[in-house]
Chain length 324, copies 2
């Protein structure tokens, strides 16, 4: 089993590599080659791996990466939403052209048909939404990032239909609790208000507690990727892009879960300072999904926000959190 991960220095790519290194196999087959590539050097994952630095949007790079015909390709590389919005050219170059060059490099190898797992996003959807977004709802994004994700989803389905790849696109929920430092993404507060108090640090909540969003933990997201790489794909039919299951929760529900795990002291570290710009952006984001199709296909989400918080404490804090 030969595996290629693009975007391997990103949070999802790094955690996926660590999980594969820990398992040593994928879908019951021993991992014999693992190539990690990104625009910056990926970390060594704990088993022998090829660590590669590349820009897949540069001509020739994709061909080099697939030359040894990896059985499974996890394509997680991409420019994040904020940057794709501020740098129009870069977003289309990396998120659309880079993905297309990778698919084209695969198509150019006769008889080669890898499992191709693509991390799409619920940003592929845009308001107005129905009560719950199912897999038949139109992808009418309201950002350039979401547009690029939706375009690659279309390519993935067509390249699969043509027999060039065996593709599965997974639309990831907001990842919460995102490890690391607070970042400037508008969605960052969903993680900040849990992650920071758990280590005794203050956090700012820029929206009302009634704001609702669709969440999955990093651990659940890695589970989605592994399942997408190993599942039977014929039941997917022609519809190869799937809404991933998640938890629909309000900020107040997130904070209640924090209270139950880490106590009132942790909750008191959150201070509400409404930011009208962030509140307006969040207003356009999807809140709830009907992920019954993915659930029926065996994808599994987190059971509760308490579980998300407890898993974060195990995975990121060596089991120790303030108040927990």
């Amino acid at each position: 089993m030969r595996i290629l991960i693009t975007g391997a220095a990103g949070m999802i790519g790094r955690k996926l590599a660590e999980r594969l290194a820990r398992d040593g196999h994928l879908g019951g087959q021993a991992i014999t080659a693992l190539t990690l590539t990104d625009i910056v050097a990926p970390a060594a994952p704990g088993i022998p791996a090829t660590l590669d630095v590349s820009d897949i949007a540069n001509p020739g790079e994709a061909a080099r990466l697939v030359a040894d015909r990896p059985d499974v390709i996890f394509h997680t590389a991409g420019i994040v939403s904020g940057e794709a919005e501020s740098d129009f050219d870069k977003g289309y170059r990396v998120n659309l052209d880079g993905s297309r060059l990778l698919l084209e490099a695969i198509r150019q190898i006769p008889g080669y048909k890898p499992r191709f797992v693509f991390t799409s996003s619920i940003a592929a959807f845009g308001a107005p939404y129905p009560e719950a977004i199912d897999d038949e709802f139109i992808t009418a994004p309201l950002t350039s990032y979401g547009t690029q994700k939706a375009m690659v989803e279309l390519l993935l389905a067509d390249y699969t239909r043509r027999g060039f790849i065996d593709g599965v696109g997974i639309r990831l929920p907001t990842i919460c609790i995102r490890p690391g430092k607070p970042n400037k993404a508008a969605s960052g507060f969903f993680s900040n208000i849990l992650r920071e108090p758990l280590v005794g640090q203050a956090a700012v909540l820029p929206v009302e507690g009634s704001v609702r969003a669709w969440h999955a933990s990093p651990r659940a997201a890695i589970g989605f990727l592994i399942h997408a790489a190993t599942m039977d794909t014929p039941p997917l039919g022609a519809r190869r892009n799937l809404n991933m299951p998640g938890l629909s929760a309000t900020v107040d529900e997130q904070i209640d879960a924090l209270r139950r795990v880490a106590g009132e002291g942790a909750v008191r570290l959150i201070s509400k300072e409404i930011d009208p710009a962030i509140a307006r952006m969040v207003d356009g984001w999807p809140r709830n999904f009907d992920a019954s199709r993915a659930l029926g296909l065996g994808f599994r989400a987190d059971a509760s926000f308490e579980e998300i918080i407890r898993n974060h404490i195990v995975d990121e804090l060596e089991g120790r959190a303030c108040g927990a």
Copy 2:
């Protein structure tokens, strides 16, 4: 009012140019410049026009075409579905890259924001379908042609949101009665069974009479293009791609209309010879739409198949048809 039409040698482009020449104005403004471009030389439309031969997928061609900043661009150029399926590279090159190069050429001109009307297709959808397809149904095409149309729809919406164009994408129904010779498109029979008997020629029906499809006449389609070029666009919001209204009719209903207009003699010229390959393809095509959004925005379809046939006799046969 300066106007550019791509694909101007195609059936839709040619009829649009003729209509604009006849009207002399668009949306109440006199037409001061009309540029017709296609991969082969377009016909002169009857008013002074620039007749241009170009391949918009060649670098630099698009920039040349928009250099004089046309106020309205009708982008109808494209490879048809059969060819986009048989020639993968050519379909993506012309239908996707050609459209993107045109949008990019527009974006590179500071302060320029033309009305951009794009002829998409109901091929942007794929089975399984709901009872009636509305504007919220997912674009999950089952052909490379439909994939390319859906990708350009996404670009059109993003380039509009960014303020580079004022875009309207219109998903055309099957065009019936298509003028000219019988062609080899799998959908050709919907037109053949009406057009050929009207001139005393035999026609083959390769499917059962119960087969249902979504139709619009060439006259209605040109009306959609004119309305898309002149309508107020703020009511569209961010959703810039629209299912056009049409007539949902079975083949039997088409034939009944032919009988009413041209008599039993015309109907007897149709011979049923089931073609299993065509029957299978047609089985995957959309049958019925909920076009209430487009209707609410002022787009108007044909009233009946009898009207479609009678208008065909006026527009294509100088008012004279066998049996009519």
